[in-house]
Structures are given as C-alpha cells and as structure tokens.
C-alpha cells in the first residue's frame, strides 16, 4: 500500500458513531499517509459524510480515536485540529467580501495583518480569483464560489484538507474542469486530502486510494486499479464501474461454473468448492464480446441497445431469465430480438461465494 511508504498523516482507530441506540459507523480503522489523496465513496446513507465530519470535529466521536500527525485530536475543537473543510454548499459568509471570507479564519486565530494579506494574495493567485476579492459571494457564479471556498481552506495551511462532495452543486462541464483543478491543486500543494463523493468518476480520477463504505463499514480500501480489477466482494464489484458488473447466479460444478444449462470455465481458484455450491459469477460489460461464429459461450437474446457514439450498451437476457449488459465497441451492433452468443476470457471473470465474498 502506498501509505506504508510515507509518514502517517491521519489515523482512525476503531472509530464509532451512534445516535442514541442507532449505530451509524461501526468501528472504522484507517491509516492515511502524508500527502495522500483519499476518496470516501459509497451509496447515500453509507456514513461517508458522517465519517468526514467526525474527522473535522463537527460530529462527536462516540468511541475510538482520531489522530492527525500522531496527535490525538478526538476531543479537540475543529479549529485546533489542523484541518480545513470545503462544503458541498460552499458555505461562504454572504455578508463578507471574498477577501474577508478568505481572511476570516486567520483573523480568528489572531494572525498578523501583513501575514493575512500575504496568504490571501497567495491563495487568490493559486485559484485565479484575484479580480473577485472585493465582491460578495452573491455576485459570483457557482464555480467561482467553489474556488473561494477552496481558497478559504488553503489560507489555513491545514495538515489535512476535507472535501464534502464539493462538486455536486456544479453543472457537468464545470464539474470536470474543477475536478482537474482539484487534482492540480493536490499536486502543487502536496497536502493530505480526504474527499467524499458518491460520483465514482470523481473517485476513480482523483484518488490515490479509494475507501468504499457501506452501512458504516469499510468494504474495501485500495488504489482505483485495485478496487476495479480486484474487488473484494459483490458490493464493491457492483459499485465500482459503469455500467455495473454483471453478477450472475450460478453453481459450482467440477471446477467449472454452471449458469442455467451452460458450463463456463472458471478463473483459477486456490480452494475448491463443494459440488453444487451456489455462487455469483461476475463479469464486466466491457469484457464480454459477441461471438462471431460458432464459438462456445452463453446464448442470449438481445432486448434493446443504447448507442453512445464510441460504444454501445447491449442489454440481453439469458435463456433462464437473468439479464446481462454488454459494452460493445464493434462496428456491427446487434438489434433487439437477435440471438447472440456471449464469450469472455475466464481470467477477466470473478467468482463470489453466496455471502458475496470474493473466491480467489
């Protein structure tokens, strides 16, 4: 893991959160290295924002410890933790100019006026918002407001930057350009950044490491490549990647996998399963090909297709009723009602046991 190569920036040890009797975070352990860009991703209600807010000190930690640069900050005030946060709604102070918005935190910590001016000017030049310094947030566009919000974080010179879905309020085009800008910012500043999103494109493109959460538990931690190519369970397999990975019900049959009446070759597995054990067979839409002539594979009927320019999504149904999605790049696209045969390399497929855990 990348974190082992660098000094530790942030450590979560068995962090828990409950509201009364309702537990929302069930003991999270995580170590984040200095300068690492970590993205928390998961479906809504998985606790990713709560976890970020616990790191920020905006939510009390019920149990466990949060340490930043080796210092226990679990019970410290947010302003004493060495963090800065960028909110989804920007949360700028509407009655202050951009300059005052940037300077507010420094004024609160009684920084010298010359130092405040220097840092505000520096942050403004990094984000190219110098010409906006005397305006108020109400006079700015969404993208400009988000820059100011990021600027407000930069001037604090934090050990850890926290981003809570910062791009969700922007339109699609702006989101892409701000995403690149955040990546550039991370490269230039080199700070540790923790970023919460439900958008997996953002997660995949920005992250050094992705933390996938579900129901207050970590499902998998790894580089974008690891979580995509080596998912630990069906949840991660289904969550990362678009369109979703096909997860087909099947049974174990003499070292092969039987789906309906068809026997498929299985990827290399170390432990053998008992005959007839139910399992899930996963294959990504982009790894399935349509057989040209007479190859062995899964027979299917095309239900409908979606043409997206470079690619085409083909939605099919297997003989016994399970649906399969294919991402096809070929010139010749099947039409609805066509009978086709699906082929794929066994090495690209995944097998999960009936608890959803990956079988290796």
């Amino acid at each position: 893991m990348t974190s082992l190569a660098r000094p530790t920036s942030l450590t979560l040890s068995d962090v828990r959160k409950s509201y009364g009797s309702l537990a929302v975070i069930h003991g999270v352990d995580l170590t984040i290295g200095e300068g690492e860009f970590v993205v928390f991703v998961g479906p809504s209600g998985c606790g990713k924002s709560t976890l970020l807010r616990m790191i920020a000190g905006l939510e009390e930690v019920t149990d466990g410890e949060v340490a930043i640069k080796g210092r226990d900050v679990t019970d410290l005030d947010p302003s004493d933790r060495g963090i800065a946060m960028v909110f989804q709604s920007y949360a700028l102070y509407p009655h202050m100019t951009v300059r005052d918005n940037l300077a507010f935190g420094l004024k609160m910590s009684r920084t010298a006026a010359t130092e405040i001016d220097r840092r505000v000017a520096q942050a403004a030049s990094i984000l190219k918002i110098e010409h906006l310094l005397d305006r108020r947030p109400g006079q700015l566009s969404g993208g400009q407001r988000q820059r100011v919000a990021i600027g407000r974080a930069i001037v604090r010179k934090p050990d850890v930057f926290l981003f809570d879905e910062p791009l969700s309020n922007l339109d699609a085009e702006l989101r892409v350009s701000m995403r690149i800008e955040i990546a550039r910012l991370h490269r230039d500043l080199g700070n540790t950044m923790i970023y919460v999103t439900h958008d997996q494109t953002e997660a995949m493109t920005l992250a050094d490491r992705i933390v996938i959460l579900r129901d207050g538990r970590i499902e998998q931690v790894g580089t974008p490549r690891q979580v995509y190519e080596d998912p630990a369970n069906t949840f991660v397999a289904g969550f990362i990647g678009s369109p979703r990975m096909n997860l087909l019900d099947g049974v174990w049959s003499k070292g092969r996998i039987r789906i309906g009446e068809v026997l498929l070759p299985a990827p290399m597995l170390q432990n053998d399963r008992s005959e007839g054990a139910p399992l899930k067979f996963g294959i990504r839409p982009e790894h399935i090909e349509i057989a040209v002539s007479g190859e062995d594979g899964l027979p299917a009927i095309v239900e409908f297709t979606e043409y997206l320019g470079g690619t085409c999504y083909v939605y099919c149904r297997l003989a016994e009723g399970q649906s399969v999605t294919i991402e096809s790049r070929g010139d010749k696209q099947p039409a609805g009602g066509d009978r086709i045969t699906l082929v794929f390399p066994a090495a690209r497929s995944f097998v999960f046991d009936d608890n959803g855990m990956r079988m290796r």
Binding site: P78, I83, M85, A91, Y93, H95, G138, R145
Partner: protein, 287 residues
C-alpha cells in the same frame, strides 16, 4: 395606417397611466391622515375649535398647539424622553433575549424543546389585560411600580413570544454549513453569534426591533396602570391627559401636535431599519 410599434407604445402609455394612477390613489388614502394631522397642528388657538375642513391653517401658521402641548405635565420633552427610554430599552432587551433564545431553539437539542417552544408561543393567546393585575402586584413586590424600568420589563415580556418565534425562524433559515465553516475557522460561542450569524439574521432582528419599538412606543394601558407619578408618564398617557383637557373642553390643536410628535420617531425607526427588513441577505450564501 398606424404601425404595430405605435399601437404597442400607446398601449404601454395607458398601462403606465393606470398603474401609477392606482398607486398614487392608494398612497393618498394612507398618507391623508398624517397630512391632515400635521397641517392641523399648525393652526392657531382660535382656529382650533373650527370645523376640520380645510385641514390646513387659514389664518397663518402658528405654533400655539405645540406650546399648549408643552404646557401639560412636565413638558413634552420630558415625556418624549420617558417614551424613548422605555421603547429603546424594550428593543435592546427584546433583541438580546430573543436572539439568544431563538439561536438556542434553532440549534440545540434538549429535552422538551418543542413543548417549551409551543408554551412560549401559546402565551400569545393570553390577553395581556387579564394578567395586568398580577403583573402590577409582582412589580409592586419588586419595588418596580411607577418606574420606567418596570414598565420596560413588562413590555419585553409581552414582546418575547413573537420575537422568539421570529428569531427561531431566522436562525432556522441560516444553513448549518455556514456555522460549521465558522467553527472550523475558529469562531466560537459569542464570536460565532456576533461575527457570523448576526449579520445573517439581521432581517429578523430588524423585524423584532420595529415591532418592539412600535408596540412599546404606542402602548397605553399598562403605562396608565403602572405609572402613577406625572413626571414618569409616557407619551400615550400624556396624550390622554391632553385630550381630557380642562373642564371637558378638548384642545384639538394640542392633540394634533402630540400626534405629530409621536409619529416622528416611529418613522425614523422604520426608515433606519427598513433596508434590513426588506433585504434578503441570504442570497448567495449557498447554491
């Protein structure tokens, strides 16, 4: 043949005439009483008893009415100061208490919060005349009867249910993230409230201030009951004394002068606060 452009211009012209005509007409009905009162206050003593039309002084402008008004009680200046002390004191106390209470009700979680809030609002349904006697007894026990401070406390009490409700709504409208951003920036407790949140709830504070000022300024019954010595009278009590006049004859000129004097501070307070009252400061905070 008239072009479509001319037709359109003519239509717009008549539309504008109708729009402004209705506006001016409506404004006239609201302004007329003030104008009549103001003009009538400048009639001379002899003209005072005459029929009210025309309302303006016909025999030259005179300030007899203001002299007569000043002749009552301890002089109109003293009573204006009394009224100002009570009203401004009421505004300050009401704002301080309702801002803190509104913030508490809006942001903190504590047991019986909603029950308490409903109880506070429910007191609006009690006609205050019905609790005037107990209030009088309480103030007497505290040694605050016939004192402007005592009267101020009564006004604040009466003003609070509405004001707390108003301020809670104002704080509810401030996004939580702004407060959280300020906490991360290191603003805590009072600093957070004064530096970050107060400017955002200014419309609420302005509304509360205007209502507190006007109600305290115009209140009559409690002032009449609680103030017993002449030099403590507030303007509404003075005005009644003026109107009662001597031997049943009413000095209408002095009454009009009193009305004019009483209107000025209300106008002033409203004009001072209306830009907060009208402005939606929240624009641009989020989204």
């Amino acid at each position: 043949m008239t072009s479509r452009r001319e037709i359109r211009a003519r239509k717009a012209f008549w539309n504008r005439i109708a729009y402004h005509g209705v506006g001016i007409g409506t404004a006239f009905f609201f302004l007329a009483p003030f104008l009549v009162g103001f003009l009538a206050s400048f009639r001379s003593n002899s003209e005072n008893g005459q029929p009210p039309l025309p309302p303006w002084p016909t025999a030259g402008i005179s300030i007899d009415a203001y002299r007569a008004l000043d002749g009552f009680g301890s002089g109109v200046w003293q009573h204006t100061v009394n009224s100002l002390i009570v009203s401004l004191g009421t505004v300050v106390l009401t704002v301080v208490v309702s801002v803190l209470a509104g913030y508490g009700f809006s942001r903190y979680r504590f047991p019986l919060k909603n029950v308490l809030f409903v109880l506070i609002i429910a007191t609006l349904m009690i006609p205050f005349q019905s609790i005037l006697t107990p209030l009088f007894i309480i103030l007497a026990k505290l040694g605050l009867n016939n004192s402007l401070f005592g009267l101020m406390l009564i006004y604040v009490t009466l003003q609070l249910p509405f004001s707390v409700f108003m301020m809670r709504n104002a704080f509810d409208a401030v996004p939580k993230e702004i407060e959280e951003a300020a906490r991360i920036d290191g603003a805590r407790d009072l600093k957070l409230l004064v530096r970050v949140l107060m400017p955002l709830v200014m419309p609420g504070v302005a509304t509360v201030s205007i209502f507190a000022f006007l109600n305290a300024w115009n209140e009559f019954l409690a002032a009449l009951v609680l103030l017993s010595s002449n030099e403590n009278y507030t303007l509404p009590v003075l005005m009644t004394a003026v109107r009662a006049g001597r031997l049943g004859a009413i000095n209408w000129g002095a009454v009009q002068a009193g009305v004019t004097v009483m209107v000025v501070p209300c106008l002033f307070v409203f004009l001072l606060l209306q830009r907060y009252y009208m402005r939606g400061l929240m624009a641009g905070a989020v989204k």
